[in-house]
């Protein structure tokens, strides 16, 4: 979080439905002012419930939510310093674009001329000024989303909440909007909190990500930290791909930990935490090299037979099977022009990686 002042504090928050369903299980996190923060996880993990608790549409069963220094218990949604962009956008069908954007100002008593001025400014921010007179049913999905954004931003909230903002858009539009949202956030300078199930979105847009599963917050970190140093099998598997081996801790040496993995031998990995007993040892596909000739002893290595090669243009995914039955997935960049596959199916190859790239997964 660097030196940012926390603008949202979630402390020991639980949410139970009907006594038995625990949607949010002891969530603790802080979001800094001006951050682009993502709540990431599979469906049903509680991320949307947590977002709605921030907005005021759900109440925590236990715990505290503090926004901009004020406790939010008992505070209605219309009096919180946050605004939300809903998954369906919820652009009012019976008002034109300008009236939609100005709605939040009108109902709180802002005079008409100021409302109009600020609404037009907000529309300019999302590049929708030309559409001020249009009715929502004349707009495309992406355009309606911009209107929803402008409508929320015109209120100058301290925090903007976005519920799955890109899920309804097609692939090309999604890419464009990812950049657009980041640009917008920089331009406006306020805190954004988005909920998403798409790891690519979270990794590319957010300053920090909280990965959630079954109501629990599993890990909170910046994208690169999350990707390179996942703290659990779940996080390692949810974000990106990995090759997982079972191992056990046999010792420690300074900042390193020594793991014994069947078929791989002993691996020394830089590791800051403490772990013992059985652990998972994993390596990401892009960190692995495949060679015909045997690599040096400074690398973790094993033999495997190529079972499949999937071509993706910029890279190829190569699948190999080890003598012990373990399947390895390797990404081989197509860094030189070639039309033939780099390896033939059935080839016996050497698979290797730098031991420092090993992920140690205690949970």
């Amino acid at each position: 979080m660097d030196n940012r002042k926390p603008i949202i504090s979630i402390r020991n928050v639980y949410k139970r439905f009907g006594g038995s369903v625990v949607a949010v299980d002891n969530a603790n996190l802080e979001i800094g002012e001006g951050e682009f923060f993502a709540l990431l996880g599979p469906s049903g993990c509680g991320k949307t419930t947590l977002l709605r608790m921030l907005a005021g549409f759900e109440n925590p069963t236990e715990g505290e939510i503090i926004i901009d220094g004020h406790r939010m218990e008992g505070v209605d949604p219309n009096r919180r310093p946050v605004n939300m962009v809903f998954q369906s956008y919820a652009v009012f069908p019976h008002m034109n674009v300008l009236k939609n954007v100005g709605y939040g100002l009108r109902v709180t008593g802002v005079p008409p001329d100021e409302t109009q001025k600020r609404a037009l400014e907000a529309l300019a921010l999302v590049k929708m000024e030309r559409f001020a007179d249009r009715m929502p049913n004349q707009l495309s999905g992406g355009q309606r989303q911009r209107v929803a954004l402008a409508r929320a931003l015109v209120k100058r909230p301290r925090v903007l909440l976005l519920d799955e903002p890109l899920s309804a858009l097609d692939a090309k539009l999604r890419e464009a909007m990812q950049l657009e949202l980041v640009r917008l956030q920089h331009a406006v300078g306020i805190t954004f909190v988005i909920v998403t199930h798409d790891q690519d979105e979270a990794l590319s847009m957010a300053n920090r990500i909280a990965v959630m599963e079954s109501g629990k917050v599993r890990q909170i970190a910046a994208p690169a930290d999350l990707y390179e140093f996942p703290n659990s099998r779940f996080v390692a598997d949810f974000i990106g791909k990995m090759n997982l081996f079972e191992g056990s801790v046999v010792g420690a040496a300074g900042n390193n930990i020594i793991i014994e993995v069947k078929g791989l031998g002993r691996i020394t990995v830089p590791y800051s935490g403490s772990a013992e007993g059985t652990v998972g040892a994993a390596v990401r596909p892009e960190k692995v090299r495949v060679d015909h000739s045997e690599p040096g002893s400074d690398r973790v290595k094993l033999r495997g037979k190529v079972t499949e090669v999937a071509y993706f243009g910029d890279e190829s995914a190569v699948f190999l099977e080890n003598a012990t039955g373990v399947n390895i997935n390797v990404n081989v960049p197509n860094d030189a022009r070639r039309t033939a596959a780099p390896f033939a199916i059935g080839d016996e190859m050497w698979i290797s990686w730098n031991p420092a790239d090993t992920l140690v997964l205690a949970e």
Binding site: R11, F57, E62, E64, D76, P77, A221, D225
Partner: protein, 289 residues
Amino acid sequence: MTQSATMNAVAEKRVQHPDKPLPLEYLRKRWLQVVLVFGFFFLYFPILALIATSFNEDKRNIVWKGFTFGWYAKAYENDKLFDSLMNSLQVGAISTVVSTIIGTMIGLALYRYRFSFKTPFESLVFLPIVIPEISMAVAMLAFFAMLGVPLGIFTITVSHIAFSFPFVAVVIRTRMAGFDESLEEASRDLGASAWQTFWNVTVPYMMPGIIAGGLLAFTLSLDDYVITAFTSGPGSTTLPIQIYSMVRFSVTPEVNAASTVLIVITLTFAIGAMAMQARTEKRTVKKNG
């Protein structure tokens, strides 16, 4: 570096919150609860009071004197009442059968075929449903008078069919809206004729709608007063007509007993129709999802 999930959370005591109503939980707002209770009381008190008096010993029926079936016995022995019930059932039976057949055919035709005058025709079919009953009642009276047809069971039944079958058509058409055409196509593909397909594929699907429509037609016929009043003659009184003339004279526990019987019959058929609709929806959902 990463933050682990269990950071040094301040060791505060766990703060429990009372279950405050959410913004959209309208039903938890006191004033709405009051309105709802008043509304349901308003809806049910008249009927329940009426039913209660039919069991009350006291004829003057405000004060509760004791429980009795006496009024029902009296109503049962009342020849005019009993005959009118028989008439109602007779008219109802015939009307139901004919309305269901005609209505099903029309409903099916409206679902299946495209034709140039379809929209005006549809509006026409639904007219008897929308038109004020008194207008239709006097129209039927004038019609039969002009033709010189004496008013009686026949004229009542004909009129009942006229306003019932559009309802059946609506039910059938709604039912057919969920029909998977490829079932018929599969049947033809497997070698069945159009007629066989109709009986073995289409009709079984329609059946819940037919039954629901039939039950609806029966309750409509049984309950009708206005149109019946204008198309009935001496000796062809139906139960509602008889109840009306008794009510005109005085509201007695005996007539309330007769009314209660009518309510029970109608509700049984209505609930039956609704249960049928609900069951078929569940089955269709299971099939498709």
